[in-house]
């Protein structure tokens, strides 16, 4: 029997090895290396490492550019998540109320999800064109004055946010729709008998039961917003004047344009910590307001 279990162990580990090897080499190892590099001064050709302790971190935390990107990221995350999830919820409720339209509508709302962020950006970039783009033309028709969407300091981030919401809303809608379908009909009937109108029923019955799904969708949206890159790169390149430079974009610039490896690695570590913190905060809030079971 001992040889049986030895054989099992060998086969078992052999089967797991490919995955572990790849993940070990391309996830765990680099993660550790990033941490290591964050304490180094690395020359642009990446030939020499000099240990400099927390200097990178200190420089970051005193850098106005860094704080700008933190602020941009926060604004971006807030807008895309609140507007995105809010709209998704409204549309999911509407879709739930109309089973006939569901099939067709679902396709329409999911279509943007199937294309990449980069492609979504390519779609919108001409729409946003201040002179020839259709968006400003439409605004002109209703008497407004279309701004320079991607070029103005005031509107650039909003433009990127709009494109992001446009592309990602369908994802949330799917989950919220599934969640809405899970609200038992008898519960709504009980509320109706108790005297609750449609709005009260939504607030007291549907929303609490939906809260785990809503929470999940929010967490995922926040993480997605932190990691958004493609659309920023194509639409604005981080500008104008850093108005759309998020933490990830800043990291990219420092790592692969400016070749400040150590400095960028410190940013990566901070970004990771920030994402963990944001998720932890959300879980804290959820504890109080999300009802499971």
């Amino acid at each position: 029997m001992k040889s049986r279990s030895l054989e099992t162990a060998i086969v078992g580990w052999a089967l797991v090895l490919p995955t572990l090897a790849v993940l070990g080499f391309f996830v765990f190892l680099p993660a550790g290396q990033s941490l290591y590099l964050s304490f180094q001064e690395v020359d642009p050709l990446a030939r020499r490492h000099t240990f400099i302790g927390f200097s990178n971190y200190r420089n970051l935390l005193f850098s106005p550019d860094y704080w700008t990107s933190v602020w941009v990221t926060a604004k971006f995350a807030f807008v895309t998540v609140v507007a995105g999830v809010g709209l998704a919820l409204a549309l999911a409720v509407a879709l739930d109320a109309n089973p006939y339209a569901r099939g067709l509508m679902r396709t329409v709302f999911l279509l943007p999800v199937s294309i990449s962020s980069a492609m979504a950006a390519m779609l919108w970039i001409f729409l946003y064109n201040p002179t020839a783009g259709y968006l400003n033309f439409l605004l002109d028709l209703v008497g407004g004055q279309g701004p320079n969407w991607l070029g103005s300091s005031k509107w650039a981030l909003t433009s990127v946010a709009i494109t992001t919401i446009w592309k990602e809303m369908g994802f949330s809608i799917i989950f919220l729709l599934a969640g809405l379908a899970g609200v038992p009909n008898e519960l709504k009937e009980a509320a109706l008998v108790d005297g609750a109108g449609p709005v009260r029923r939504f607030w007291h019955v549907t929303l609490p039961i939906l809260s785990p799904t809503l929470f999940f969708v929010t967490v995922v949206s926040v993480i997605h917003s932190f990691e958004s890159f493609g659309q920023i790169h194509i639409l604005t390149g981080g500008g104008p004047f850093g108005k759309t430079t998020t933490l990830v974009y800043n990291l990219y610039i420092d790592a692969f344009v400016n070749f400040r490896t150590g400095y960028a690695s410190a940013q990566a570590v901070l970004l990771f910590l920030l994402m963990m913190a944001a998720t932890a905060v959300q879980f804290r809030i959820a504890n109080k307001r999300v009802h499971y079971g």
Binding site: E186, L187, A190, R200, P208
Partner: protein, 343 residues
Amino acid sequence: MAEVRLEKVSKSFGDTHVIPELSLEVRSGEFMVLVGPSGCGKSTILRLVAGLEDADVGAIYIGGARVDTRSPKDRGIAMVFQSYALYPHMTVRENMAFSLKLAKLPPAEITIRVEEAAKMLDLGELLDRKPNQLSGGQKQRVAIGRAMVRRPVVFLFDEPLSNLDAQLRVRMRAEISLLHRQLKSTIIYVTHDQVEAMTLADRIAVVNRGRIEQVGAPLDVYHSPKTKFVASFIGTPSMNFFPATVLPPSALPAGAAECGFRAENAFLTGDDAALSLGEGRVILVEPLGGTALVHVEVGGRTVVVEHRGATLPKRDALVNVQVFGQNLYYFDSRGSRLSTGER
């Protein structure tokens, strides 16, 4: 308390005529049980009274007022659902108080009513718990409490005990009966369990495919079923049937008929005064303790006889199945009861 009246009500779902045309009167303060097999439409009838479904045709009156167009909360009803339908994120207290808060009752009044119901239903210690911390029986009582605090003129119960285990069901039955006596309320109760119907009801209405086949006091329905369906549905074990021909002279119309008798009216020992179905073979004996149910194959059919003797017949034994003539029921080919005037 109010009486409930359904007048020529019919309801279809798509192409299915769940209720072709139905009229029913429930007296004020009465415990009316709608009983019938699954899918017969009894729940639909209840939901029509509640206002959870709208009748296609016909009128519904509660307490003399026509309520067809009113929403459930304006009908003076309260409902206890099969799956309890307790709000999972609210405590027991909040569950019971919910409807009262919506009706904008003053907080003091709400507290009084909730405490009163909690006391009656023995829920005092559970008031601050959430539904997922309660057992099935406790949830059921909370559901009843939630209905009670509204002080409705009609209570509607939709198969409330089906999700409970057998012992609990018996206990809850007694509690519901007690509640009815205390509150003196009009109750319409739906179940597929005819034992529940027999024990709880002032009157029962036997429903078959959307039609009410008979309404009456439980024992009346038991002893004087009007149709073959009612005769076979009410009573455990169900009535035995076999074909018969009516020969003149007879008070009954001549021709083919079906004859039925209950298991407790049949016996296996010899008695010259009784009619005999002939000799049969015992195929199954089910001892119940005080009595036994003996399944006998006779005349090509299987018949169940309730046997009270100390010695039980063995399988494959040959026995003589007998019934007294006065305990026979006759039904025509359409299932209607043929009556000679006496039973």
